[in-house]
Amino acid sequence: MSWQLAIPLLIVTLAVVAAWFAPHIVGPVLALWVLVSSMVLATLASMVLLLQIAAAGLSEVPFIADVLGWCRAIYGGQHGATPLVGVVAVITLAAMAWRTRSYAREVRLSRDNFTEVEGITIVDVERPVAFAVPGNPGGVVISRSMLDALDKVERRVVLAHENAHLRYHHHAFVHTANSCAAAIPVLTPFARKAVFLTERWADETAAEKVGSRSAVASAIAKVALLPTNQAPLFAQALSGGDVITRYEALESPKRVPRRTTILAAVSTVAIAISATLLQFHQLIDFASHPR
């Protein structure tokens, strides 16, 4: 198998890298779409390439070649990969599937704690928590300590922010991105960025709802600085730095992307789609014309 067969995957990888920078040129909504869709395409393209390597390698095993009705390989690697490489590809694919399933189970377990949430649910815990529980009916869980610490506008900010998560199905973006990262661990920082972008999206939606971006910024800062919101060092919150970035984004003027930058962001996805299709085409091509 020549390395050229990986060229489509390489192109998709470049698109994912480009998508990392999308938040700098377009708003959070489009940036999230571009980022998550290129992550999905990269995962698909990788799986297709691995399938092809697996097929090439395994078809060199005489027994399998006979079953498939393909010609037997005369020397190792004649079909493009040795049987050993094929087995490695199969194991990699299995590991990807297994890790994705474990992630799905983790999400389900976490959600099972909150099946009774319908609409607004107020809980009595010391930590200032507020989060959206997706699903139908779904809703928002807020701790009374959070509500007590906030004034009226800030309460509305929190509610509008969490409501945006529900209304725009942010959990779907987050879980898709996390599933890709479970399958391909190097995508983990990209999944974290996707989570961050859903927060930015919800912040901007809340800002529209209350009619002030700086009101959202100060609500974020206020909750972040509540003494009860301090995490012990060993449990350092990954999104710690994100809070500061969100605050700064809301305090700086809203960026209106130009048409050319929007076009650039959309073309990134278009290129990634074409490359993924090409990768898939190569697999079909290989399966129908065994060398």
Partner: protein
Amino acid sequence: MAGRRPIGALENEILGVLWNSDRPMTPSDVLAGLNGELAYTTVMTVLGRLWNKGLVERVRVGRAFAYTSAISEADLSADRMRAALDRSSDSLATMSHFVASLDPATQEQLRALLKKRSK
């Protein structure tokens, strides 16, 4: 892109409208506050549900009820959920939080940023 909103989101939107107002609101006031995006009966139903939960108080105004928010009276949720929240942040790892818990260093950084802005 919004599509149909999940049922659970309605309570939040309507409570958000009530939080925005200083005086008691009738269902039609709430409807006006929502820019008429919902049916009147839906608003009534959701207000009734909020009242059952103790999240709003109501007074009779003519033939209708007028509602105000009443956070301090609200029913607190079941113990099971509270246990999940108390247990650890693991059970919440896959949820979208308004603001995640911060380590002391990040809080310090944010405080410095706020101070710089207020100058």
